[in-house]
Each structure stands twice: as structure tokens, then as C-alpha cells.
């Protein structure tokens, strides 16, 4: 017997299209795609879902998610300001060694973000899958999902060494 349920759909717009089509978006999409290790939803969960109608989220959900969307907007605005300031600072401080340090910091930030994303997904047994239209579905996977293999897909040996920090040698 099919049952009727409501699920949340987030309609997402990437601010600054050049970020999304450029390196940041590429990295983001690639990492998210690597979690599942497959593009077939059916291999991860029985998603026997038929869309019936789209409507407003319930009042209690609506409040929590609206607050979240507002917070996210504020964070994006702050990031844009930080980036503008950084660009000015970089113009004043355009020394090669500083650029190299900056590259390393960005790489570390990306790696830490990847780790937090992985932990969050694993905590909730949630696996995202992109479809051919560029949309994402996040499914709850069964206990048989191989999270160790997902970790191996997401983190190289170099990443693991970076995460472990400098050695004592």
C-alpha cells in the first residue's frame, strides 16, 4: 500500500554564478557526487516515490526553515564583505609567499569543510545524489552503506596527512 507523505524541497540559488560554474562549484559538486559513488538512487535506497503536488511547508517547518534561510543570507553577505576586504588587502600585500600561504589556508579550509560535511552526512546516514538535471536528492541509506569506502573516495592520503597535522619528526 502506498502511503502519502510530505518531504521538504529546498530551492537553491548559487549566489555569484561565476563561483558556481567555476572552481568552487566544481569542487562542491565533485565532492557531493563522490559521497554516493553511484548516480543511481535505486542502489542506495528504495525511493519508490511519486510526486503528487507541491505546496507550502507546514507552519512549524516553515518558521524553522525561514529562519535558517535568513541566517544563510546574512552569512553570504558577510562572506561577500570579507572577500572584498581580502581582495583589497591582497592588492596591498601581493607578495608571492603570502599568496602561497593563502592558497594553503584555502586548501585547509576546504578540507575541514569537507570533513564536517562528511561527518554530518554520516551522522544522519544521509547520502546526496545528483541527477542528470543538476538536482540533488538526499536519501537515508541503510546500515549496509559502506561509509569507509565513501571516506576513501572523499579523502586522499595527502588529505589525511594534512588533517592529522604536522608530525613530531
Amino acid at each position: 500500500m502506498p502511503s502519502l507523505l510530505a518531504r521538504i524541497v529546498a530551492r537553491v540559488t548559487a549566489l555569484l554564478p561565476e563561483d558556481w560554474v567555476g572552481r568552487a562549484g566544481r569542487q562542491f559538486r565533485g565532492t557531493v557526487a563522490n559521497v554516493a559513488g553511484t548516480e543511481k538512487l535505486g542502489e542506495l535506497a528504495a525511493e519508490g516515490v511519486r510526486r503528487l503536488a507541491v505546496g507550502a511547508v507546514s507552519r512549524e517547518h516553515s518558521e524553522a526553515l525561514k529562519n535558517y534561510a535568513d541566517e544563510e543570507e546574512a552569512r553570504a553577505a558577510a562572506e561577500l564583505t570579507r572577500r572584498t576586504l581580502n581582495a583589497r588587502q591582497r592588492q596591498e600585500d601581493a607578495r608571492a609567499d603570502q599568496e602561497q600561504i593563502r592558497t594553503r589556508i584555502l586548501r585547509t579550509e576546504e578540507l575541514m569543510g569537507r570533513l564536517r560535511l562528511f561527518d554530518e552526512l554520516r551522522l544522519r546516514d544521509a547520502v546526496p545524489v545528483w541527477d542528470s538535471h543538476g538536482n540533488m536528492t538526499i536519501v537515508r541509506v541503510q546500515s549496509g552503506f559502506d561509509w569507509d569506502a565513501a571516506r576513501d573516495r572523499l579523502f586522499t592520503q595527502t588529505d589525511m596527512r594534512l588533517l592529522a597535522g604536522p608530525s613530531d619528526e
Binding site: 507523505l5 521538504i8 537553491v12 503528487l52 507541491v54 538536482n135 592520503q157
Partner: protein, 308 residues
Amino acid sequence: MEIAELVGESTAVRDLRQMIESVAQTDARILITGENGVGKEVVAKMIHQQSRRRAAKLVTLNCASVPDSLLESELFGHVRGSFTAAYRDKPGLLELANNGTIFLDEIGEASLRVQALLLRFLENGEVWRIGADRLQTTSDVRVIAATNRNLREDIAQGQFREDLFYRLSVVPITIPALRDRPEDIPALLEWFWQKLRSEAFVAADDAMEALVRYSWPGNVQELKNVVEQLSVSTDRPVQLASLPPEIRRVIRHDIPTDFEIRFSPEFSPDEVKGLLTALSEYYRACGGVGLAMTFEAEHVEVEEPTHA
């Protein structure tokens, strides 16, 4: 012998070069892992060429390319009459590689019997040819093995010996997939093109963008094949239309900046919030400014799982 080299200046490649340089100075056994086509043999060659054994041979054996019945004979050799086709004594590769290095590619494909024989060799360096009733020789060989399989999984399934794994994996080296170091793609294109056409690689902007954005599931080997194909079939600058369809496709569809994230109905709003926060924070950590979101509820009919 052609000098093997790793092309690229990404952090991953620079780290790998440094690792190769330091392990080459030792005799430690090495297990190289990585997807197909990442260049495991190149790394093995570099280690040998930078080691104190470089004057001796580097012998390569792909364990998947030899039938299991012959693999033992290839490695350890045989004495005349030990089996029907053994018309004369034949030394194995472990003997031939004495004082040098043996590279055992696709070691995960070796049978449990060959694994047991290899283990015995790694423990004492003794080479017993098939059919021999006495010890033939000992061999001083550095062993480098490689695989694209998850050997820990194979161990759990009883397909690979755990003791052999630890003997081989004294220094584990993982080679990153090409999609994890896209910044090296232009240098690799240039390097392979130069080898074939002795001129600079020039591509139209959209063609270069497609080449860099493509995920290269076959890694460097696939890139090399594409360059070979382009070098005979196209003129400079390389155009988007000249690229194989699977590469062209990444640029043909504009990447929409609007998309949907659908959550399975069992996720609670708190879980949805937690997951969206992790995704947004990760996007910012990648260098993106942020993601704007609105929410809807989708009413869906879900099939109950059927139980046998």
C-alpha cells in the same frame, strides 16, 4: 631507459614526488594504490630510478595478465620436466630481478596459493623453482606492489592474505585521481602533446574548459589516449567540436545556478537544517559566496517496501 616523471605542480603531486624521493632511499616494500590509469607504474619506475638499485633491473609483472597456472612459474621459474611444457630450466622473475626491483601490478588478482608463495619469499628471500627438490637460490629484490582494489575488503572476504598485506604495505602510497587535481590537467595535456607533436598544446577556451572540467574516470591514461586521438585527428587550436562527446557534454549543458535539493520524507526539519548547514558551509569553504534558499513541501506517494 626512459626517465619516468610525474607531471603537475598541484600540492598532491608535489607531496607525492617528495614521498617518492624519501622512500626511494630505503629498501622498504611499497604498496601503491589508486584508481585505474593514475600512474602506479610511473611511480614504481620513479622509485626504482631514484634508488640505489637503479643500475640493476626493474622487472614488471602484471598479475592479472598471466593465467594463475602460469603466474607461479613466471615468478619462481621451473625446472625441466616439472610440467608438460617445461622443456628446459627457466629462472623466474624474482631471480632475474636480483639486486633490482620487481613491480607486481594488480597484486590483488594473485591467487591465495601464489600469495602464500610470495609471503614465503618475502620472509626469507628463497627462490624455489617449480619441481625443484632443493633450494635454487636466494634473491635480493625490492618488492613494489600495486592494486586498484580495496585489499582490506578482500582480506575481510578471505580473498587476500592479511599477513602478505602487511608485508607488502610497509610504506603505502595512494595516488590521487585526476579529478582531485584538475589544476594539473593543462600541464598533462601539454606534456603528452609535446611528446607527440613537439609543439605547444593550444585549445580554444571552451575546449580547454571542457578538458579541465571533465571528471576523467580513466585518469591520466584516459587523458593520454584523448591527446593521442586529438594529435592525429585535429589541427590547432583544438576545438570543442573535436573532443570526444563525453568531454564535450560537460560544457554543452550550461550548469544551472538554480537547483533543487529533495530530502527523503523521513528526515526531520532539524536534520534538514543540519544537512543544509553542512552543505552551505562546505560550499563557502570551497570559495563560493553562498547559497540562497527557499523551501516547499512536496507531497509524495511512497511505495511501502515489500517483504518476501
